[in-house]
Symmetry: C2
Amino acid sequence: MTSTSSHAAIGIGELASRTHCKPETVRYYEKIGLLPAALRNEGNQRRYSEATVQRLMFIRHARDFGFSVEAVRELLDMADHPSQPCDQVDQLARRHLAEVESRLQRLTVLRDELQRTVAQCDGDSVAQCRIIEVLSDHRLCGHDTAHGGAEALR
Amino acid sequence: MTSTSSHAAIGIGELASRTHCKPETVRYYEKIGLLPAALRNEGNQRRYSEATVQRLMFIRHARDFGFSVEAVRELLDMADHPSQPCDQVDQLARRHLAEVESRLQRLTVLRDELQRTVAQCDGDSVAQCRIIEVLSDHRLCGHDTAHGGAEALR
DNA sequence: GCTTGAACCTCTAGTGACTACAGGTATTAG
DNA sequence: CTAATACCTGTAGTCACTAGAGGTTCAAGC
């Protein structure tokens, strides 16, 4: 038998591969307290149970949804108290959704502007390049305020 | 006279306020070589000309368009050689546009999923909370691969 | 000329969420 | 028994700034 037996404790490598992350990330999550300190075998290597696989899948999935690590921490805490009302979960998720929607909007504006600018370049010298021109003079682009730019990408 | 005379050299504070950034950022750009080392007055304080205002506006505008600092470095380099053909500018901009479009797509998928999940929560206890449920089990969400998540937000 | 407060200086460290590496130990297949 | 692989700890690097400490210079008012 190599690995995927279902009752035995597993090592960090298998935990990582089963949750689509890396051993380094697992150790990092332990360090910042998203995962509890792992049990160790005689050789001081971490051994995990199925429960940890589940917890880590929850974490990865929440991160995949774009929740910050701090938000994931709160979500885990809530998930650990199933009898409480879920208003807080709901609020957290709605706030995150609003964030995502706002980013989406800014990114859309950015794309439109970029598309327009790129389309106007006629492939001549830099001196007449529309892209450089627009970057040099904000008045030349579609609207008067900032586009959201770097922030939209975060 | 306080500040905005047009021929005199200006200080870092005015440069910053005229380009919508902070003195710290200006010093940072100088340190990483986006701005040349500034001239100094007798008291060792940086003095800038209009040319620097223009250059910094270009930088901020490009950043606003979501270009990375490294891309901005290349764009500045190209803008400094106006007689060369602008293929490279064009390529850089198109690559960036493609990046933005991909992010946009992933973020849209994410939003849809989040919207659907949040809508299904009926405000009861955590034990029955749809949001927690979906986070606990990937199979419950709309599709089978990752949504792009944290990466979509960068 | 002197004082006061704002603006400036340098240098270091912190952010978020990992990732990568160095230098060593444990496990395991053959 | 050996060699390859997986694991360990601890530190530093990523990106694009931002914040702070601790000190200097400037400009205005008296």
